[in-house]
Amino acid sequence: MAKTLISIKNLKASIEGKKILKGINLEIKEGEVHAIMGPNGSGKSTLASVLAGREIYEVTNGSVTFQGKDMLSMSPEERSREGMFLAFQYPVEIPGVSITNFMKAAVEQHREHKGLEQLTPSEFLKMMQEKKDLVEIEAKLANRAVNTGFSGGEKKKNEVFQMAMLEPKFAVLDETDSGLDIDALRIVANGVNKLKNKENAFLVITHYQRLLDYIVPDVVHVLYNGKIVKTGGKELALELEEKGYDWIKKEND
């Protein structure tokens, strides 16, 4: 039996007093890929943000247990070092910080946390190269400032590259497919598939079924109005694609 990686129980969260998540229950085991679909405004991105520890959201109830530890009491950086990764829907542009320096700082802190010896500069650069090859991103990207002036596709590829560098146990992809052309989508999905193994897990948040042709989920959930209202296999995604979200709304309103 695969081990439970993350267990979300009755999670409620709000922003500026407005209730967004109204009791999420979700359990993800090692080796699994879960997809969360749902109409706009259902709370998909809020769930991603709450899991990553974004401060503007207030968790009012529930628990998140990650590898046996209480994740909600951890800072964003602790969550990352424990193996949580969020691929941002809107990766932030940081002029003046190169991707190399950014990743160097991140990898150093991850290794320190794990009690591993630090990499030498040449080992680090070798690792950068390997991961760039793995996710098929252009070598020159790493010399540029983080996301600055990147196209939409480059930004998303850069997220997958960072994921490859940090080798998380649990990665949340927040609408990583939105705004991507089919080539970029394929590269992003290939990257994810290469990183997938028996010990990690992915939560793919998406509005469209398209991405799930490339990253095949084991479980599909439908989030609506802050709750998971339906759970099924990968065929549920196809059904949603065909029928739209109206029948879900009708069933639940």
């Binding site: 950086e77 941002f88 542009e93 950014f102 700082a105 960072q162």
Partner: protein
């Protein structure tokens, strides 16, 4: 309304009048400055240009004219910029230290020496250029400077010479148990088609209340290229009034970096005049006040002729209860068609008590120009901070990364490579909360430390 223990204008001037050392300047300039002094008062906040900078803290001390102290080699070496191979001029408390300077007076017309002696060896040059920028008529401090400065730097780069290495002017202040006032009067001439880089750095040897009053005139002849760097690293109780006036002739290119890392109250006036067409001016500034320090940059660019370009980028990080001022004015005269001018001032406040007064101004009388200006003041970008944290980087380190990135364009633009590396290290140490040993007697502030839980 002078406070009981506050120096009056008369008392301030009397410090110099009673001193044994006299101005090196010609009698007519001394008289002109003396006349200006009758006209000008000590600036107060009622003066538009001093609205945000009070000098009352400066006036609360009884100063003496600085002494010509002996320097030792170790002291001087402590303040050289690592890797900077330069012609050096060293001064202490307004006095020239010949022993530690690389004086040059060669047959090709290159002169690097102190101005008091240059006045004797090259009177024709001094007479031709001294007060060309009319600096003594600027304000009280430049008038005092002209009337009473007894020395400073004189640099003359002959036509067509690209100087093989930079010039480093080191100005030490040393209170030596007395509150000390020092003045420097600098004159820098870049001849036609010449090319030169100059660094002027300021340091305190001991911690005491000191006031340094500098007036620098810079003349760029046709097609000259001059890069001027002011590095301010005096002690925590050091006051500095630094006035620079620049005249640019046709096709000349002037660039400057004003790096203010420490001092108590530091005021920099930088005024540029395009005397002829097609001049280029690039001004950069970086200021990192903390505790109760106050750093003020006041810039004026007069685009008087057509086809001129100017660009200003000033950035500051303000911590604790510190404050900063950016007052930048670009004036485009009626005849200055095709002027391109851009002004940017950006600030990050690290605490709720930190303060900035930023006022970029454009005054345009020509109709075919392209001018822009912008000013932003804010906190560290919270979205960017979260992004870095979400990759496992702790908050403190993420803040240092972001602050470093915020000012990186200003540092990257420093042309004197060893100075760039040096400033980078000092700023990084500073952002990391480490002491900047050997550079400023007391600087140890740490922007960001206060708002770290």
């Amino acid at each position: 309304m002078a406070l009981k223990n506050e120096l009056s204008k008369e008392e301030f001037v009397a410090i110099f009048e009673n001193s044994k050392s006299k101005s090196f300047a010609e009698e007519n300039f001394i008289n002109l400055a003396a006349n200006n002094l009758k006209k000008y008062n000590l600036p107060t906040k009622a003066d538009e240009e001093w609205k945000h900078t009070s000098i009352r803290k400066i006036l609360q001390h009884k100063y003496f004219i600085g002494e010509n102290l002996d320097l030792d080699k170790n002291q001087v070496n402590l303040f050289t910029i690592p890797g900077l191979n330069a012609y050096r001029l060293v001064f202490i408390n307004g006095f020239y230290s010949k022993q530690f300077s690389d004086e040059i007076l060669n047959n090709k017309g290159l002169i690097i020496k102190n101005i008091a002696d240059a006045k004797k060896s090259n009177p024709e040059l001094i007479n031709k250029y001294f007060e060309n920028t009319d600096i003594s008529s600027e304000n009280f401090f430049t008038s005092v400077n002209t009337a009473f400065s007894f020395d400073g730097s004189f640099i003359s780069i002959p036509n067509n010479l690209a100087l093989d290495k930079p010039i480093h002017i080191i100005n030490f202040s040393d209170g030596n148990n007395k509150k000390t006032i020092s003045q420097y009067r600098n004159l820098i001439i870049a001849g036609k088609n010449s090319n030169v880089q100059i660094v002027n750095s300021f340091h305190s040897l001991t911690v005491n209340y000191t006031l340094t009053n500098i007036s620098t005139e810079i003349i760029l002849e046709e097609n000259a290229n001059l890069n001027f760097n002011i590095f301010q690293g005096e002690g925590d109780d050091a006051f500095q009034i630094n006035s620079t006036k620049v005249n640019q002739e046709k096709n000349s290119n002037f660039s400057s970096h004003t790096i203010t890392l420490c001092g108590s109250i530091v005021r920099n006036d930088l005024k540029i005049e395009h005397k002829a067409e097609n001049c280029e001016t690039n001004l950069f500034g970086l200021y990192l006040p903390d505790r109760e320090q106050h750093f003020d940059n006041n810039i004026f660019i007069n685009h008087a002729k057509p086809h001129g370009t100017s660009n200003q980028i000033y950035k500051g990080i303000i911590d604790n209860k510190a404050s900063a001022v950016f007052l930048g004015k670009v004036f485009v005269g009626k005849g200055a068609q095709k002027t391109i001018a851009d002004q940017t001032n950006r600030n990050i406040l690290l605490t709720q008590y930190a303060k900035v007064n930023s006022k970029p101004q454009l005054e345009i009388y020509a109709d075919d120009v392209s001018c822009s200006h912008g000013s932003t003041t804010g906190q560290i970008d919270k979205e960017a901070l979260f992004y870095l944290q979400s990759r496992g980087i702790n908050r403190r380190r993420a803040e240092v990364l972001l602050l470093g990135a915020f000012i990186s364009d200003v540092i990257d633009a420093i042309k004197v490579e060893p100075l760039k590396i040096f400033v980078n290290i000092l700023v990084n140490n500073r952002l990391n909360g480490e002491k900047v040993d050997g550079q400023c007697a007391m600087v140890s502030g740490c922007p960001g430390c206060d708002n770290i839980e």
